[in-house]
């Protein structure tokens, strides 16, 4: 006979302001099988938990229903308390009176009625709860880091330096990411590559890090501690073991006019290329979409000149399977390209460029070797206009958020220009200056006060070209919204920072959630900012939201600490809420096998003692099963069930929902 205890929490006034908690407890005391029912101000507090523990012991309870907040909040708390009182923790269930009732309804009779019904449903469920025991699974102490920008590099180095293996996957031919493209960094104006490249080399040489460049994650299976990842190593067409990196092939390649991605389209590269001089690895790949050999079947110059015989045209994409225990997504961001802002002539006028293009123009390693020359005619600009929020904070263009990094890099750009051309005119159109951060506001003030950058508060309406000049039509809202027209030689748009175009696809491979702008979602915006909702998968850097370098590096180290903490245990405890098969009724149709996303269903042969086969039935591999229950709903002979959500439990819940007749007399 069931002996159920009901514990109704007021949650201060969060529940009791709209639900009559005492009445709920009173009604519950009359439900069949309930032997104890009480309400209390804070059930999750120490005295509240003690109340539960004492009641379990005193009334010899066989089931506990805590009617409080969402089980997503406090289920672990109350299950722990239940276990401490000496009964199996899985005999405790929670009725969600706060998120699903008191907070979403007004104080009226129907709200208290609903609360009592929610309790009744769980009372009926808990009568059918079974004792369950956690499953222990081993942990593969290798981390996968996706993305080789500064975020991925930092996370990989921190994990590797703690003595764990790291596999890094980078989709481009070199690691380095966006930071490698930057000229100088704010607020110190130190050279980006000077501080980044030593880290890149460290990654390449670290004994604990295996690096796959020009590679992408193909698929991810498994779960925390036990992920099975397939990496697609795209064909480089160059044997990197044999290649010495002499560069002869690049020199001789006849196809030299391919817009250079690393230089944001401002320079050209060959069909066989190393993205930039300090690339890691510093060995070329062949871009098959542009190579004459691959397009027309002839040429082969690189092969002819290669002294190391390293060119392998026949190479194919390779699939590498690896086992990892944790995954760090550090795939970074992109900036919005193309004619996103037609009123600014972006995409129409070559001298209207984006921030990344300016970085390349200003960079000593860029296409102009650091001499600021405008793209159209190579002239050195005398007047440059910088436009902040070019697409950010612009719901009409679909991007309502602040891109966070632009205020600072715009100030930096204006400064870099003024340092190169002291007599030039630098104008910044801005709406607000968001320079929160150590030494950040001082940096912007320096641009204004020391470098004489003209900051105009107001947005630009349009830009057009006239006699080789760009006419920028803006407004100064601090001067009675007076119109301002500036003749510029170059216009730099701080276009919005956006998620990578393939981020949605990756999120779906990883089964992590992402927001409407395709940035990956953290588990909790404040308290779990580096983890995702999928256990074992963490985030670093701008794939989560636009971020600058210091923030990215901090988050990467935070993520590394989470990975290392996970790897500090030998075994992982998992919830036992998984499927199980009734051998007696299973007819071996294996429909379940066809729907299981985790390949957790195996075949088991049942034999007589003499060895003759009776039948083959389904068997659940408890290490792989994640407890989705799809097999349960599909099984035609009702031979599979799932712990925690058994048919008996759920049918009891549904039957208790509205079955007033049965309870009418009570």
């Amino acid at each position: 006979m069931a002996r159920i205890g009901v514990f109704v929490c007021h949650c201060g006034e969060n529940i009791s302001s709209t639900v009559d908690c005492a009445k709920v407890a009173e009604i519950a005391s009359n439900y069949p099988g309930v032997v104890y029912s009480i309400d209390y101000k804070y059930m999750c507090s120490d005295p509240g938990q003690n109340l539960i523990k004492e009641a379990i012991q005193k009334h010899k309870l066989t089931g506990v229903v805590v009617a409080a907040c969402s089980p997503r909040m406090h289920e672990p708390t109350f299950r722990k308390a239940t276990a401490e009182a000496g009964i199996n923790p899985y005999l405790c269930e929670m009725a969600n009176l706060r998120e699903h009732c008191s907070w979403v309804h007004f104080r009226e009779d129907s709200t208290t009625e609903k609360a009592a019904e929610l309790v009744r449903v769980l009372v009926e469920k808990v009568k059918h709860n079974e004792e369950l025991y956690p499953i222990k699974v081993p942990i593969t102490k290798t981390a996968l880091v996706i993305g080789g920008g500064i975020g991925g590099i930092q996370a990989a180095l921190d994990i590797a330096n703690s003595g764990h293996k790291v596999i890094m996957v980078e989709k481009n031919p070199s690691i380095g990411g966006k930071m490698a493209q930057l000229s100088e960094t704010f607020p110190t104006l130190d050279c980006s590559q000077c501080i980044l490249t030593p880290r890149m080399v460290e990654v390449a040489q670290h004994p604990n890090i295996t690096l796959y460049t020009y590679a992408e994650v193909e698929s991810v299976d498994g779960f925390i501690g036990n992920f099975k990842v397939t990496i697609r190593q795209k064909a480089k067409s160059v044997d990197h073991k044999a290649c010495t990196g002499c560069g002869l092939c690049i020199e001789k390649c006849p196809i030299k006019k391919i817009p250079d991605e690393f230089n944001a389209g401002l320079g050209n590269r060959a069909a066989i290329y190393v993205p930039f001089p300090q690339a890691v690895p510093n060995k070329p790949v062949i871009d098959r979409n542009n190579c004459t050999y691959f397009l027309k079947g002839k040429c082969g110059l690189c092969n002819k000149v290669c002294p190391a015989d390293a060119i392998h045209y026949e190479q194919e994409d390779e699939f590498i399977k690896v086992d990892v225990g944790a995954i760090v997504a550090a795939t970074g961001f992109d900036i919005k390209h193309s004619d996103f802002l037609p009123e600014y002539g972006y995409g129409k006028y070559p001298d209207v460029i984006d921030g990344l293009q300016f970085e390349r123009l200003a960079s000593a390693s860029g296409p102009t070797l650091g001499v600021l020359k405008r793209p159209s005619d190579g002239k050195e600009p005398e007047s440059v206009v910088f436009i902040a929020c070019a697409g950010s904070r612009d719901p009409a263009k679909g991007i309502p958020y602040c891109s966070k990094i632009c205020c600072m890099y715009t100030a930096k750009h204006a400064m870099l220009f003024k340092h190169k051309n002291h007599h030039g005119n630098a104008t910044v159109f801005y709406m607000d200056i968001r320079a929160g951060g150590k030494m950040y506001d001082e940096f912007v003030r320096r641009a204004i006060e020391e470098d004489d950058v003209n900051y105009i508060r107001g947005r630009v309406s349009r830009i057009y070209e006239k006699n080789g000049k760009l006419i920028v039509c803006g407004v100064d809202t601090l001067l009675n919204s007076r119109s301002v027209e500036i003749e510029a030689d170059l216009v730099v748009l701080a276009t919005a920072a956006v998620a990578n175009s393939d981020s949605e696809e990756l999120a779906q491979k990883l089964h992590i959630s992402y927001d409407q702008y395709h940035f990956f979602s953290e588990a909790h915006p404040k308290l779990r900012p580096v983890e995702t909702n999928t256990a074992g998968i963490m985030l670093a850097g701008a794939c989560q939201a636009p971020k600058d370098i210091p923030d990215t590096v901090s988050q990467a180290s935070g993520t590394a600490a989470k990975v290392v903490a996970l790897f500090s245990q030998d075994e992982l405890t998992r919830e036992p809420l998984i499927a199980y098969v009734n051998n007696n009724t299973c007819v071996g149709c294996f429909l379940c096998q066809s729907v299981c996303p985790y390949l957790a269903i195996e075949k088991e042969e049942i034999r007589r003692r003499d060895g003759t086969l009776v039948k083959t039935v389904a068997k659940i591999n408890p290490g792989l099963c994640q407890g989705c229950g799809t097999c349960v709903a599909l099984c035609r002979s009702k031979s599979i069930d799932i712990h925690g959500y058994t048919n008996r439990q759920i049918y009891a819940e549904v039957s208790a929902l509205f079955n007033r007749r049965e309870y009418a007399g009570v």
Binding site: A396, R459, T477, N480
Partner: protein, 192 residues
């Protein structure tokens, strides 16, 4: 108690009326100034579009009053440049239409705008009577209203010569129906 009831009729700020009656949110404006930068007439206005929105956002009686008495609201050409580029998608020309009729209703029209209204009125009177626009009638009526007797006298002879002016108006058959539309629409505006 007495003072309270006196204040109440004035209490509804224009921004609330704008929200209720034409469903435009002035609070969306964050003062980037893109409207003023693109407006062909912001240089001629006493208050630029973003400044008018700012006054409306404040929402007190004196700011609302300044808006309704401004000259800027009468200069708006409804060219929609501001709206088409507004990052917050504020339909400012729509708000301007509302402000103009509100300004007339509350008799707060800027003195310099009286000519513009006179023109609009002459235009509408012409349509009310004949159903269509009749340039000669329109200009004559407008001149009588404003005493700008010499305006456009240079154009008229040339227009006649090119066959572009009719001396007598064309009256449509349904002109009574048009007159009734006017009557009902004006009555409705008065009732608001």
């Amino acid at each position: 108690m007495e003072t309270k009831s006196k204040i109440e009729p004035l209490a509804q700020p224009l921004k609330e009326k704008i929200l209720n009656e034409i469903n435009e949110q002035v609070m969306k404006c964050y003062q980037c100034g893109k409207c003023a930068a693109g407006c062909p007439l912001s240089g001629e206005m006493d208050y630029t579009p973003n400044q008018i929105l700012r006054l409306l956002q404040i929402g007190d009686t004196s700011c609302d009053d300044e808006v309704l008495r401004s000259y800027g609201i009468w200069l708006c050409l409804t060219c929609d440049t501001c709206h088409s580029r507004c990052p917050q998608e504020v339909d400012f020309p729509h708000i301007m239409d509302f402000l103009r009729s509100e300004s007339i209703k509350r008799r707060k029209v800027h003195p310099k705008a009286k000519e513009i209204i006179a023109f609009h009125r002459s235009f509408l009177e012409c349509i009310e009577k004949t159903g269509r626009l009749h340039e000669v009638g329109l200009i004559a009526s407008y001149k009588l209203k404003t005493f700008n007797l010499l305006q456009d006298v240079d154009l008229a002879p040339k227009m006649f010569a090119k066959g572009k002016l009719e001396i007598f108006p064309h009256r449509i058959k349904g002109k009574e129906a048009i007159a009734r539309i006017f009557e009902k629409a004006i009555k409705e505006a008065d009732n608001d």
